[in-house]
Amino acid sequence: MTRPNDLLLEMQRRMLRIRRFDERASKMVKRGEIPGTVHTSIGQEAQVVGACMALGEGDYMTGNHRSHGHPIGKGAALGPLMAELVGKATGVCGGKGGSMHLADFKVGSLGESGIIGSSIPIATGAALSSKVLKNGKVALAFFGDGASNQGCLYEAMNLSSVWGLPIIFLCENNQYALSTPAHTVTAGVIADRATGFNMPGVRVEDGQDVLKVYDAVKTAVDRARRGEGPSLVEVMTYRFNEHSEGLRIAVDYRDPVEKEAWLKRDPVKMFRAYLEQHGIADAAVLDGLEAEVAAEVEAAVEFADESDYPDPSVAFKDLYTEPFGVTQ
């Protein structure tokens, strides 16, 4: 698979954006600067970016509550995302979505979902419109190992298969549905479930390696774009932080040895080392990239800080195309 150097550097840039954005969001939520809670993608950046970069700019994507990484991976601007987390009028959803419900239609991000598995049918519908309108677009649905036990996934896989829809079902298997180990509630291997729906199912065992994820998803995207239908890609990964920031769980549900082993496989550090070792970029270039991303995140926080909160009347806007009743 050909992967031009500028593509590789862009992968590292987007992984860094997710890391720094989420590190900053984690601090802000603990200081009360972000209301509610956030679920970070720290540790899962390779899985997110490898998948997003395999898509084209016009392609569609839906996601879940672990949400910031998806639009960032798809190329969304950081300022409106951060403003949304803070609840400002300049937020990507005008302050009505918040951390779990980001969407940036400009980059094909059709919405994250706070309901597990619930956005999978939306991505399926986007793939249907692509097929009927013949516009060549591909859709990708991100969901976790927890969502792999929701019925709507199998309704979606079945329909996509019989209709030959251009969609990739991307299971981000971080091995825990909140505190519940996947193997205790999930029979067999998730990727193997594809067989029953007559579609390819592959598992990327090392989801910390952005190139392995990219190659697997690119194969599925190319297949979808050729009109050959859906694929299931399961990516094994690990979240480095707690399920949500600030959450304290009395039971230590993750084995410390397992956790330590995964923490050593930091996707951002691993890919930086790869880029240096393969002579794609030297330390100065990569340091420069880190500095640029750090400045971008700072600018995003500043943008959010300086923005106004939405006017109270906004609570009644955008429910329908034309206002009536309380929306008048």
Partner: protein, 337 residues
């Protein structure tokens, strides 16, 4: 004008919409075989059969998977199609409740207006036809409690055609609840394309003594009642809201202001019914006009039994409507005050 049945009128609206806009598709169980008679003619293109006319790309048979039917239609609507989803029976909507409530109703709002959802979900209420509790629901009031959805409950072929045509052209999600008992109802309907706006009630019959708001088959119960009541010298005004969301409360309030009495005939279960909401609106905004307490003619809060011996007694009909009108006419509550 030509004589159309309720089902024929729905078919006519769907055909108009399919011909007007290539982005309109129909998806649902058994739509290719035209099982319910809303997909055109008699299995031939020259007889207006939809599958022959528009092909399988736009007339899509689905698996029995309501959640993906509803969710995929929503996703397709958000990305450029204008789907009409045929969900067969209204009792099947519950299988897709998450998609209706968490995606269809919320996506425009939650994403700050980025999403448009031009999608129509049609379903038939099979009550009164001995199909038992799993096919007999009248669930439109449940969905009235979900901001973001629009709801039409047509009572005549003319309204079914005009409202459905409007619904397909609208960029908001619409649920259409069609009473199966009305399917065979026939009347003269305009052949040309026409659209009926949402949120505009129809005055079915003018009258001076009692306002009777009828919903779906409730309109016909009220019409039947009006003849006997006329003979008794009681004049009722019948209002059909046609769409429950938006609801034309002005039309109801204006009528009650003239008559001073209100009866609501609504085939839904009593608690949190459409009748309950209309009663609350009138009590809040027109209490001083009322000469008698409001009376609701609704289905009692029990499930629907199968046996023909015990089903029909539960629904609103002309006899119950007449009794309700007598009750509001004979009320002494305001006279004594």
């Amino acid at each position: 004008m030509s004589v159309m049945s309720f089902l024929g009128a729905i078919g006519a609206a769907q055909r108009e919409a399919m011909e007007a806009d290539p982005r309109v598709i129909i998806m649902g169980e058994d739509v290719q075989a035209n099982v319910y008679g809303t997909m055109g003619g008699k299995s031939r293109a020259d007889k207006g059969d939809f599958l022959q006319m528009f092909g399988p790309e736009r007339i899509r048979n689905t698996p029995i998977s309501e959640e993906i039917m509803v969710g995929a239609a929503a996703g397709a609507a958000m990305t450029g199609l204008r789907p009409i989803v045929d969900l067969s029976y209204s009792s099947f909507l519950y299988l897709a409740m998450d998609q209706f409530v968490n995606q269809v109703a919320k996506n425009r709002y939650m994403f700050g207006g980025q999403a448009s959802l031009p999608v129509v979900f049609r379903s038939a209420m099979f009550y009164g036809l001995n199909t038992g509790a799993h096919h007999s629901d009248r669930p439109y009031p449940m969905f009235m409690n979900v901001p973001g959805l629009k709801i039409m409950v047509p009572a005549t072929p003319t309204d079914a055609k005009g409202l459905l045509r409007t619904a397909v052209d609208m960029d908001d999600p619409v649920l259409s609840f069609e009473a199966c008992m009305l399917w065979g109802l026939k009347e003269e309907v305009e052949d040309r394309e026409y659209k009926i706006p949402f949120g505009v009630a129809r005055t079915v019959r003018e009258g001076s003594d009692v306002t009777v708001v009828g919903i779906s088959t409730g309109v016909h119960a009220a019409l039947q009642a009006s003849q006997k009541l006329e003979a008794e010298g009681i004049s009722i005004e019948i209002i059909d809201p046609r769409t429950m969301v938006p609801l034309d409360s002005e039309a109801i309030l204006n009528s009650v202001a003239r008559t001073g009495r209100l009866v609501i005939v609504d085939p839904a279960h009593q608690t949190c019914s459409a009748a309950a909401e209309i009663s609350a609106i009138v009590a809040e905004k027109a209490f001083d006009c009322l000469k008698a307490p409001i009376v609701r003619v609704v289905t009692p809060d029990t499930q629907i039994p199968f046996s023909p011996a015990i089903e029909k007694q539960l629904y609103p009909d002309a006899v119950k409507t007449i009794a309700a009108v007598h009750k509001v006419m004979n009320s002494k509550s305001r006279a004594a005050a």
